[in-house]
């Protein structure tokens, strides 16, 4: 195990605007090593991976391959040096065939740049055989289900015959049998001295397949260890940090309010959307926080979107305050007193170029006009109050939202609904990419809303978060809400086991 590192990152720092995504991170990987990269969402794992693939150039620091400095921010150079990656988000050309996607950007050619289709097909067949994957090479990728697309993504990385393969949550969309197959593949690659970086939230997978681990938090590498030398509670502790661990321990002593006041605000019965989620039933009460957790791809987000009227459901019933509801659009849901904070605040939540004041007023524009006139002054006044009560920094309503840090952006996103005093507040991963301080403040805001009597439904992958804020915890696996626990009556380990239910 003392071979020299094939991949090394030294002093890597990446700054986006005024968000530091990666701070002085060191990383190294030896041939044949399977290294887990773990940390909460926003810890900087994906940023680190992107630096290694050349997708982004670090602000500071260098990358060495075989001890030689590699050019930064140039994907083709990294591929040439044998670095491959299975990305978390799809990196396929949807209108092209599986075959062409596997060889994207490096189809074997004959003279005059003609693609050597026969050779391409031969190599692809051999690859499929070697890794025991069955897939129609001529199918158009865009027509394949997500699971199959993920397999194409994996094949694409394997086809490179790379010396290092970076895997960013490769199992998020896979079923149990495929996960096992992938792990076999990893063990096989290991024997060929391929170095592997493995990102996963499922600790079972990490303890099953990895040799070593690097733990990140807030953009820093905070611990490195051999998997054999560490136990799970210690890993979780390192991931979330002393402060949050202490806080969550304290929070655990706080009074929880399962079923809140007992008044049912939202009631779902056998809610089904074909091919997405199946027979989801729950009651959401006034004055409680119900957290739904599960793996990426367990369709939690899709469930929330349906509850908010973005998508229709095809079966079951949904009641709000005892009345049957079938929202055709978010407009209807909002009128019924529902507020929704989407997961991707940049793509779906905020108007980045607009000011904080405008963003905070976005869900309540109907209250800020008299006749045709927009009442800017009242808007600013309301924003000033919101900024103070949410302690958004800097407290300057005229600042474009894109200049705020992730945590403050998230507070704006939550804050825009608070003006409405929503009866039901739905949040999807409310603290992704948010620093620890802002996290605590968002929790405080949510608790305050709960005391006010709002019914709060949160989807979160971050288990510490779930245990910190939830009154009840629901576990979603492959489109089914398998169980709802009272938070007081369950342990972290149980939830972890249930989440991985399908995968383990």
């Amino acid at each position: 195990m003392d071979a020299p590192a094939i991949l090394r990152g030294v002093g890597l720092t990446k700054i986006y605007g005024n968000l530091v995504a990666l701070r002085d991170a060191d990383f190294s990987l030896r041939p044949g090593e399977v290294r887990a990269l773990i940390g909460s969402n926003g810890a900087g794992k994906s940023t680190l991976i992107k630096v290694f693939t050349g997708a982004i150039a670090p602000t500071l620091g260098r990358v060495e391959i075989d001890g030689v400095a590699a050019p930064l921010g140039d994907p083709s150079e990294m591929i040439r040096r044998g670095i491959a990656c299975i990305y978390q988000h799809s990196n396929l050309a949807p209108a092209m065939s599986v075959l062409d996607n596997i060889f994207l950007g490096r189809q074997p050619t004959r003279r005059f740049g003609f693609v050597d289709s026969a050779r391409q097909r031969r190599e692809a067949r051999a690859l499929l055989e070697r890794h025991r994957i069955a897939i129609d090479l001529d199918a158009t990728v865009g027509n394949l289900p997500t699971v199959k697309q993920k397999e194409v993504e994996i094949l694409k990385a394997l086809a490179l015959d790379a010396r290092v393969i970076l895997m960013d949550e490769p199992t998020a969309w896979l079923a149990a049998s495929e996960v096992a197959k992938l792990h076999d593949t990893i063990r096989m690659l290991k024997t060929r001295a391929v170095g592997i970086v493995y990102i996963s939230h499922v600790l079972d997978e990490i303890f099953a397949v990895c040799d070593t681990m690097t733990i990140m938090r807030d953009g820093r590498v905070i611990a490195e260890s051999a998997v054999a030398d560490i136990d799970r509670p210690r890993v979780v502790h390192l991931m979330v940090g002393e402060k949050l661990a202490r806080e969550s321990a304290e929070a655990a002593h706080e009074k929880r309010h399962p079923r809140g006041t007992g008044e049912i605000r939202m009631s779902a019965r056998d809610l089904t959307k074909r091919g997405v989620f199946t027979e989801v039933s729950f009651d959401l009460h006034a004055g409680e926080i119900l957290c739904i957790t599960g793996l990426i791809g367990s369709k939690r987000t899709e469930l929330l979107r349906t509850l908010f009227g973005c998508d229709r459901f095809d079966g079951g019933t949904l009641q709000i305050d005892g009345r049957t509801a079938a929202f055709a659009s978010p407009t209807g849901a909002i009128a019924a007193g529902v507020g929704f904070v989407p997961e991707d605040r940049h793509r779906e939540g905020l108007m980045l170029d607009m000011t904080m004041t405008e963003n905070l007023a976005m869900a309540t524009l109907d209250r800020f006009h008299r006749g045709l006139m927009l009442q800017r002054r009242r808007m600013s006044e309301a924003a000033r109050q919101a900024i103070a009560s949410l302690s958004i920094q800097p407290p300057d309503g005229s600042r474009p939202v894109k200049l705020l840090s992730g945590g403050n952006q998230q507070k704006v996103l939550v804050g825009k609904w608070l003006n409405r005093a929503p009866r039901i507040l739905i949040l999807d991963e409310p603290t992704v990419g948010v620093d620890v301080g802002a996290k605590a403040e968002i929790y405080r805001i949510l608790r305050r809303e709960r005391e006010r009597g709002a019914a709060i439904l949160v989807v979160s992958s971050d288990l510490e978060e779930v245990f910190t804020i939830a009154d009840r915890i629901g576990v979603m696996v492959a489109g089914r809400l398998v169980r709802i626990h009272d938070a007081d009556d369950c342990r972290l380990q149980d939830i972890v086991r249930e989440i991985g239910g399908a995968a383990a």
């Binding site: 994907p75 990196n91 050309a93 949807p94 209108a95 092209m96 994207l104 189809q107 693609v115 091919g275």
Partner: protein
């Protein structure tokens, strides 16, 4: 690359159009009419195929009409003022078109301008440049002098294919214009380029998922600039065909042809979302537009109604394309349902 339902629909629609006009329009099913169709729309097909390249990489080229004008004027000047022989002018014209196109690509890639805006600006600039170098202004006497260079005027030539094949006794075959054969040759060349070469794969990858292409190590900038250069090249070829036909060039040559080309490309199923389509659609789309326009003319429909129908066809084409997308999404959901 499988044949898309949109392509099948286009072929069927084209056949139906020909059948409809053959029955309903007097003199539509005649050799002369088909000769007009080939002579009048081969260069439109060439422009449409050229336009397909930028659209495939999720761009658009509004400047091709202006490039046609510019190249036309270069030819005019070189032959009438400088008496450069035609076999020199031809390659020069092609290079000018390609450079003008490549400049569009550079604006898009290097200055990161929106393709729509970049080519809008060069549309103005190239048209202005055309006026600047206009031999009609510099040497007014030349404006009525026809171009007679064999190499250039020779492009406007017709071949008695029916005679060669010896079928003239059986049916009246139209004489085929050289421009039609040029179009066919370009079609074969470009179709091979996009479907069988590395460049073609890169083109579809860049248009289909830019980020994936970049991360796969494709030199996206070079692909995009090449796409615009090819569009410019096609504009130059179209210009040569037009100059040969009119035996002169005016400053306004090619005005508005970008819209026809875009229309033909979109009718031909090249998606503005990028990464979808080939060369067959745009070429056939151009002739479809041509057949409709000629057919309506023969039916005595005023030219104005033809514009309305052109617009309606364009709307129907994008609408149909959208319908296919929606259907595909539905089918995907259904597949998912079965899998789950």
């Amino acid at each position: 690359m499988t044949i898309r339902p949109a392509t099948v629909a286009l072929v069927l629609f084209f056949a139906a159009t020909l059948a409809f006009f053959s029955v309903s329009a007097p003199r539509f099913a005649t050799a002369t009419n088909y000769e007009n169709l080939m002579a009048g729309f081969s260069f439109v097909a060439i422009l449409a195929m050229g336009q397909a390249f930028p659209i495939l990489v999720r761009g658009i080229d509004l400047s091709i009409g202006a490039i046609v004008g510019l190249v036309g004027m270069v030819v005019f000047d070189l032959t009438l003022i400088f008496h450069v022989p035609g076999y020199v002018i031809l390659p020069v014209a092609l290079v000018v078109g390609m450079l003008a196109g490549a400049l569009n690509g550079v604006l898009v890639v290097v200055l990161r301008l929106q393709p729509f805006i970049a080519t809008l600006a060069t549309l103005a600039a190239y048209r202005g440049l055309t006026y600047t170098i206009s031999g009609r202004q510099l040497v007014p006497g030349l404006s009525t002098t026809p171009i007679t260079d064999r190499w250039i005027v020779g492009i406007e030539n017709y071949f008695d294919v029916g005679g060669w094949l010896g079928v003239n006794k059986l049916l009246a075959m139209p004489w085929f214009p050289l421009s039609f054969f040029i179009m066919l040759a370009l079609f074969a060349l470009f179709q091979t380029l996009v479907l069988a070469t590395r460049f073609g794969r890169d083109l579809y990858a860049v248009g289909g998922n830019y980020e994936a292409a970049r991360l796969a190590g494709i030199n996206t900038g070079r692909v995009i600039i090449t796409a615009y250069a090819l569009s410019g090249l096609c504009a130059a070829i179209a210009a040569l065909i037009m100059v040969a036909r009119f035996t002169t060039a005016t400053e306004a040559l090619g005005t508005g042809s970008e819209l026809t080309a875009i229309a033909a490309a979109v009718i031909g199923g090249v998606s503005l979302a990028g990464g979808i389509g080939s060369m067959f659609g745009p070429a056939l789309g151009a002739f479809l537009l041509g057949a409709v326009l000629l057919g309506l003319t023969l039916q005595g429909v005023p030219q104005f109604v033809q514009q309305i129908i052109t617009g309606a066809i364009l709307l129907a084409a994008v609408g149909y394309d959208r319908l296919l997308v929606v259907r595909r999404q539905r089918r995907l959901a259904a597949n998912l349902a079965q899998a789950g």
